[in-house]
């Protein structure tokens, strides 16, 4: 554990720590472009030059390992001049097209120019080297070679993370540029990360392009709902519209990456949403109030149990719902409706796409959670059989589809049930067949936890309140249960999680505090 000082601050760091990383631990930012904590050291941008006592030349902080007694200065005139000089070099050929650049607002050139540059250009405009702009290089990415500062992050990512090497440096000297080989576009499932790691506007996202200025966006810490991996993301939104996912670092789960299909998962929170409670009487759907719909549904459920016994009621849970919602769903089935008919229906669409990195074949974020909470998929097969046999008189469906049944299949199946209730976020075969629709909040409109494939319980946070009249799933389930006499007193997802931690073995001892931002592994899953 070497001790050293940076700008006079004494710091102790583990053996092998670089100056750049060590400085971070005491809140000293050393500017850099090419350095990325999850990629090999390139040392080429030369932004992180610092003074190190006993070294005649400035040293790069990203590749200089701290040694005992080292004295480092990153705030001297000599360092400032070096950083300013590098910035000037990086900008001489830059097109300065910030007004039409998507990176504006989160651009490393803008940020450091304001901090260290603010120089007038000494370079003749007519001497700028021009390169190709707006190139569709495949995947989710557009390349603008003129904006590129040749930091090589993208190239290292494609060599070291995806092992696909579609992008390389071509030519040399100030004609160097990154490019794909003609006719060989990006061909991997992780291209979106290139836009994230590009510190400038050279690689931008096709999906996000020209859609929103980044300074108008707010972010919520979230979990990608696209598969069982549970990649940590930042969900960016404006008002009640989601604009993008960006990966959030969690070394136990996704490091700093996420996959391309997952990156587009946010769209489901925007499109074809169920925004108001609906009852269908005599065939035509009618918008109604929460009070009316909850009372009506509670009454029918009570009536069905009374008339036909609890076995005539079934609940299809969804592994796309949070642990908190699943727990209450189970409680509702077990303790309130007292029906044995509880199972979960998985989403399977796309499960042929998987790899040994982040993409899991299970396309549900919380299958593991559902199982740990005692809800099974096998039971779901039973329930489908009972529905087909006409034994189910009232059905509560969580989610937007039943497994991945086609529209016609769903319609045919549900035609066997006199009363179908959906708790879900999006329109589809289920909402069209349901007699009552209880619109629930999307993952970004409420907080909660998912348990990923490896048993890691991870929190996601509410970004904005539920859209339209949609409601938090906890309120919906509690609303039904309490109208059936349950007397639950849950105040939000944290109180539900406390109950889970008390009664569910795998979650014993956990709390939202202990989960923090990176989660905890459920007991017995390792």
């Amino acid at each position: 554990m070497p001790n050293f000082t940076i700008n006079g601050v004494a710091v102790t760091v583990p053996q092998g720590t670089t100056i750049l990383e060590a400085a971070k631990t005491v809140g000293i930012e050393i500017p850099h472009y090419c350095y990325h904590p999850k990629l090999s050291i390139a040392g080429n941008c030369r932004m992180c030059l610092v003074e190190v006592e006993k070294f005649p030349k400035l040293q790069i902080a990203c590749n200089t390992v701290v040694t005992e007694g080292m004295v480092v200065k990153s705030n001297t005139e000599k360092v400032r001049q070096a950083v300013t000089g590098v910035l000037e070099f990086l900008l001489i050929h830059h097109p300065i097209d910030c007004p039409i650049c998507d990176q504006a607002g989160e651009c490393g050139l803008q940020v450091y120019y304001m901090k260290y540059g603010l120089h007038k250009s000494r370079h003749a405009l007519e001497d700028k080297v021009h390169k190709k702009k707006v190139q569709d290089i495949g995947g989710q990415i557009i390349l603008d070679a003129e904006r590129c500062i040749l930091c090589s992050r993208c190239i290292r990512f494609l060599q070291e993370v995806t092992h696909t090497s579609e992008l390389e440096f071509f030519q040399r000297a100030d004609h160097s540029e990154i490019s794909i080989f003609p006719g060989k576009p990006l061909n991997n499932n992780y291209t979106g990360n290139l836009a994230d790691i590009c510190p400038v506007g050279a690689l931008t996202s096709k999906d996000f392009r020209f859609r929103c200025r980044v300074w108008l966006l707010r972010g919520a810490k979230s979990i990608c709902p696209g598969c069982a991996n549970g990649c940590n993301v930042e969900a960016h939104f404006k008002g009640d519209i989601l604009y993008r996912f960006q990966p959030r670092q969690n070394d136990e789960v996704n490091q700093t990456w996420m996959c391309d299909p997952g990156r587009l998962e946010y769209k489901k929170a925007n499109e074809a949403r169920l925004l108001t409670p609906v009852v269908r009487e005599g065939g035509s759907p009618q918008a109604t109030s929460w009070e009316a719909v909850l009372s009506a549904v509670a009454f029918r459920l009570w009536e069905t149990v009374e008339k036909n016994g609890p076995e005539s009621v079934a609940v299809i849970a969804s592994p796309q719902f949070s642990n908190e919602e699943l727990y209450l769903t189970r409680k509702l089935a077990d303790e309130v409706l007292r029906t044995p008919n509880l199972g979960f229906s998985p989403r399977t669409l796309g499960n042929e796409v998987s790899d040994d990195f982040l993409i899991k074949p299970d396309k549900n974020p919380n299958t593991r959670g559902a199982r740990l909470l005692g809800i099974s998929e096998e039971k779901f097969e039973d329930i489908v059989g009972k529905i087909a046999g006409g034994k189910v008189k009232a059905l509560l469906v969580f989610g937007n589809s039943i497994a991945d049944f086609f529209e016609g299949e769903t319609e045919l199946l549900l035609a066997n049930v006199p009363f179908v209730v959906q708790v879900g976020t999006n329109e589809g075969a289920v909402s069209r067949a349901a007699h009552a629709v209880l619109p629930s909040a999307s993952f970004v409109e409420q907080g909660g936890t998912f348990t990923n494939h490896a048993g890691r319980v991870q929190r996601f946070w509410m970004g904005f309140p539920p859209r339209g009249k949609a409601r938090n799933g906890i309120e919906i389930i509690s609303g039904l249960a309490n109208r059936l006499g349950a007397g639950w007193k849950f105040a939000g997802e944290s109180s539900v999680f406390r109950a889970i931690a008390q009664s569910e073995g795998p979650f014993a001892g956990m709390s939202y505090e202990s989960l923090g931002e990176s989660g905890q592994v459920a007991g017995g899953t390792e």
């Binding site: 941008c45 070096a82 070099f89 040399r172 100030d174 160097s176």
Partner: protein, 422 residues
């Protein structure tokens, strides 16, 4: 005068093993394999042999950077990527005395317990590479290479690797990358090649001339070699003289021979009645000297004292009547063309300097341009992975410091006073 290398370079057969052996070749190797390895290294240290590739680092000390344990195989790489403008001595060794280099390789590899050697020859030297390959084949046939060399039990394989046109590959870590099949980008250090070099193995990179000096040192002893030169800088050097002198070429001279006598005695002085204006002493990357600064011994330290460098021994003679702006512009075009493009200050700085100089030479210079050049130089110097940026800055600064009036004149008169030509 004692010659280390070039005694028999006039003999066309000297490049063949039979003639080489008849003239005493491979005797040093026979002696070396009877010596304790450390003793060979000790002799090289005593010889004060400084790297002839340009940096002048003591060869024996460099060898000492290899890790002590032998668990990872070590590799010797010969830097024959001769590309420093003004330098053409390694080409001479390879074409006239390739066995000197090969014998030096075998002795060095034996001393360092190395069983693999690559000779990285610049791609343009196709003919020289053919000659070296022929010499290698002969050496294998005669038992100087391969298995159980001269019955010593020592094995060594030597492979030629041809470059493909990149000045930067003369920088040792760039050369290593190029040898590994990569773009010739210099590597960030640490790790240094002696611990992680070619294919991840501990590696020593030595210049052709440096390695060719080894047999003589083994034969005559390090002290004798040291005594040929000056303090801390032993032996002879192959000095390359180019430009309009009467006898341009390579001269083997004791380290410390005066630059004046190199130009006026050995190279015969300027031709066609020209007079001397300036000299670049050690290849294009070394700071230029005015005509009145050449009474200086040609060795690393003496040249350093007057603000320049011995470099790779490439003396470029510039006569009166030559435009210094145009000369520097030619050099900056070179660096702008050869920058590997990896680090920002070099990639952008070299090109920028070249463009400013071109416009000054074309009569389109701006009042602030000379200061701009110096400012750009400040932002390049000492801020990059490898010395190429410094190599561009040193001529740029020195040309301006010593011939400032010519730059100013170009800008004030908005034209080249020399008619925009050489």
């Amino acid at each position: 005068m004692e010659l280390v290398l070039t005694t028999h370079f006039g003999n066309d057969r000297y490049r063949h093993v039979d003639t080489y052996v008849r003239l005493g070749g491979y005797a040093a190797l026979r002696k070396a394999i009877s010596m304790p390895k450390e003793e060979i290294v000790e002799e090289v240290k005593k010889a004060n042999l400084r790297g002839r590739g340009g940096a002048g680092f003591p060869a024996g000390v460099k060898w000492g950077f290899l890790p002590k344990d032998l668990s990872r195989p070590r590799i010797l790489v010969i830097n024959a990527d001769e590309g420093e403008p003004g330098t053409f001595k390694d080409r001479l060794i390879m074409s006239r005395g390739p066995h000197l280099m090969i014998e030096g390789i075998v002795i060095t590899c034996y001393a360092l317990t190395t069983h693999t050697c690559y000779i990285y020859i610049r791609g343009e030297f196709v003919r020289e590479a053919d000659i070296v390959q022929e010499a290698i084949d002969e050496a294998y046939a005669e038992g100087y290479l391969g298995r159980n060399i001269l019955g010593s039990g020592f094995d060594l394989d030597v492979t030629i690797h041809l470059g493909a046109g990149a000045y930067i590959c003369g920088e040792e870590t760039s050369l290593i990358n190029s040898l590994e099949g990569k773009r010739g980008w210099p590597r960030v250090k640490p790790p240094f090649p002696a611990s992680v070099g070619v294919f991840g193995q501990p590696t020593i990179v030595n210049n052709v001339e440096t390695i060719a000096d080894i047999p003589w040192i083994v034969t005559h002893g390090g002290e004798k070699f040291a005594s040929l030169g000056v303090e801390k800088d032993g032996g002879t050097r192959l000095i390359c003289v180019s430009g309009p002198v009467k006898k341009p070429g390579v001269y083997e001279l004791p380290v410390g021979t005066s630059l004046h006598s190199i130009i006026y005695e050995h190279a015969g002085g300027l031709r066609d009645g020209k007079t001397l204006k300036a000299v670049i002493p050690g290849g294009s990357s070394t700071p230029v000297l005015r005509a009145n600064e050449i009474d200086v011994p040609f060795d690393f330290e003496s040249l350093q004292k007057i603000g320049t460098m011995a470099g790779s021994g490439g003396v470029i003679v510039i006569p009166e009547g030559t435009c210094m702006v145009r000369s520097l512009s030619v050099l900056m075009n070179f660096y702008a063309h050869e920058s590997c493009g990896q680090c920002t200050p070099c990639r952008e700085g070299c090109g920028w300097l070249a463009r400013i100089l071109r416009r000054i030479e074309d009569g389109e210079g701006r009042e602030e341009d000379v200061e701009l050049i110096l400012g750009v130089c400040d932002n390049m110097l000492g801020r990059t992975i490898c010395p190429l940026a410094d190599a561009a800055v040193m001529p740029a600064q020195s040309f301006i410091w010593k011939f400032r009036e010519e730059f100013d004149q170009h800008i004030q008169e908005a034209k080249c006073p020399y008619g925009n030509r050489f």
